[in-house]
């Protein structure tokens, strides 16, 4: 089983994921990722999509896999990795629908996604999750091993295969079109203190 429901309500997942697994993940869920994630960010995505356009095989088979938007700091001797928190996901919006099209199932980053990505997550049954932004030291503790598998010349932007254990994330955008960020803020907005254009209807 690749989605395991834990006693405290969290869900543990392990790639490769199939559509049925992704459907069990809902916006707001706390998920622990174990197993393999592939690290790739801006420059790597540009190259990956160029490879797809040229009809080439990618450096890893994306089918059912999870990509983590991260550019780690260099590892100190004796450590698997340096600091390794998420980077802003919307910069990958241009490339994400294409990656989902070729079988990618999970994405980990931080920050909101555009409408085209949220639609593509529904169309291709994918899930977007966020790790703690600015929590790179804590994130490093959950990464057991990593190696560069492509584009070493990109330095921090090289593609890495990572082995992670109980790497914690929140489900932000699920495959049913629910958005955790979208619904989390309104109940806390204090409309009476704000100019009119910033007021939101409260919805708990």
């Amino acid at each position: 089983m690749t989605v395991e429901l834990l006693e405290d309500g969290k869900k543990r997942i392990r790639a490769p994921l199939v559509d049925e697994d992704v459907r069990r993940l809902e916006a707001g869920d706390v998920v622990l990722i174990s197993g393999v994630m592939y690290a790739a960010r801006d420059a790597a995505h540009k190259l990956l999509v160029e490879m797809l356009d040229a009809g080439q095989d990618l450096p890893f088979d994306p089918t059912g896999q999870i990509v983590y938007y991260v550019g780690p700091s260099p590892e100190k001797p004796g450590h698997a990795i340096g600091s390794a928190g998420p980077t802003t996901a919307s910069r990958m919006d241009k490339y994400t629908p294409r990656m989902l099209q070729v079988g990618l199932k999970g994405i980990v980053g931080k920050g909101g996604r555009g409408p085209a990505v949220r639609e593509a997550l529904q169309e291709h049954t994918g899930v977007y999750m966020a790790a703690l932004g600015g929590g790179g030291a804590l994130a490093a503790l959950q990464i057991r091993a990593q190696r560069v598998i492509a584009f070493p010349e990109l330095g921090p932007e090289a593609i890495r295969e990572m082995e992670v254990e109980d790497f914690p994330v929140w489900v932000i955008d699920d495959c049913k079109g629910q958005d955790f960020y979208g619904r989390a803020v309104a109940p806390w907005r204090k409309n009476d203190l704000l100019p009119e254009e910033f007021r939101l209807p409260a919805n708990a």
Binding site: A130, G135, W188
Partner: protein
């Protein structure tokens, strides 16, 4: 004319190197105090959990094995050179870059600078060049403040040439919109630096300078301090909260810097800093 004090450029290199290393592992105490205060005031249970993690991350980083954030920043250097100082031995810009180069390399910090923004975007491999703001000031000392500025929050900066008639209300709306647009991308809760006045470029530099203050330290000008308090309350009323998952603590502080401007102008710039606020100062 008084005697010139000679300062070896190597001392500037050493100072920049040490600051780069120190701030990326050990965030300033005023930042930790501000997050601790936010943790106490946060009303959302999830927000409190997140702020606990932020504080744990700071403690772990301070042990010196993992930088606070993997984005160890572009290196912004504010250097005030006393006019009675004579720097010897090397070009000042080279001395600063050498400090960045050795600090980022020796301390396993990420190299995040590309050599051109548009064509090849090739990583320079040593985090140089630093972005340097130099002032010549009275005296015979050199004051160096280094800031490791994360790219995610920097990308959320905004600038506008408002009309004088837009006034306080226009500035308030502009700042709030910047915080809303930054949303989760700038890793809230962070610090909002606002530069008002000057001209096109000075307003942006003022916004950056505003971030260099101790977190939450009010402006010495009571009118500006009042504006800061009002913007702080309104930003937090947005309910964005820690990591934009809802809550009462969206910003740790709002700092405003102002300067005179043209009769036709009301320049305003917002520079957002994530909770990974890494800065330190030394005086030579």
């Amino acid at each position: 004319m008084g005697d010139l004090r000679e300062i070896d450029a190597a001392e500037i290199t050493r100072t920049v190197r040490e600051l780069c290393i120190e701030i990326n592992y050990k965030v300033p105490e005023d930042l930790v105090a501000a997050v601790t205060r936010a943790r106490k005031d946060e009303e959302s249970p999830l927000g409190r959990q997140i702020l606990d993690l932020v504080l744990r991350n700071a403690e772990l980083a301070a042990e010196g094995e993992y930088p606070y954030c993997q984005d160890t920043g572009s290196t912004v250097v504010f250097i005030d050179v006393g006019q009675d100082v004579h720097i010897t031995g090397a070009d000042l810009a080279d001395a600063i870059d050498e400090g960045v180069r050795t600090g980022y390399t020796d301390a396993y910090l990420r190299k995040s600078i590309v050599d051109d923004p548009l064509f090849e975007r090739k990583n320079t491999g040593d985090n140089t060049p630093a972005f340097v703001h130099t002032r010549i000031v009275p005296g015979d000392q050199v004051r160096i403040q280094v800031d490791a500025k994360g790219g995610g929050s920097e990308n959320k900066g905004k600038h506008a040439m408002l009309k004088p008639s837009d006034g306080l209300e226009g500035v308030t709306r502009f700042v709030l919109q910047a915080v809303v647009d930054a949303g989760p991308d700038a890793c809230p809760p962070g610090i909002v630096g606002v530069g008002i006045g000057g001209n096109f470029e000075y307003s942006a530099i003022l916004a950056k300078r505003a971030l260099m203050r101790k977190v939450g330290q009010p402006s010495p000008d009571p009118r500006i301090a009042e504006l800061e308090a009002d913007l702080f309350e309104k930003c937090n009323a947005l309910g964005i909260g820690p990591q934009s998952l809802g809550g009462t603590q969206t910003v740790l502080a709002v700092h405003v810097e102002m300067m005179p401007t043209h009769i036709a102008s009301l320049p305003v710039a917002v520079n957002i800093e994530c909770h990974a606020h890494r800065t330190g100062t030394r005086v030579i």
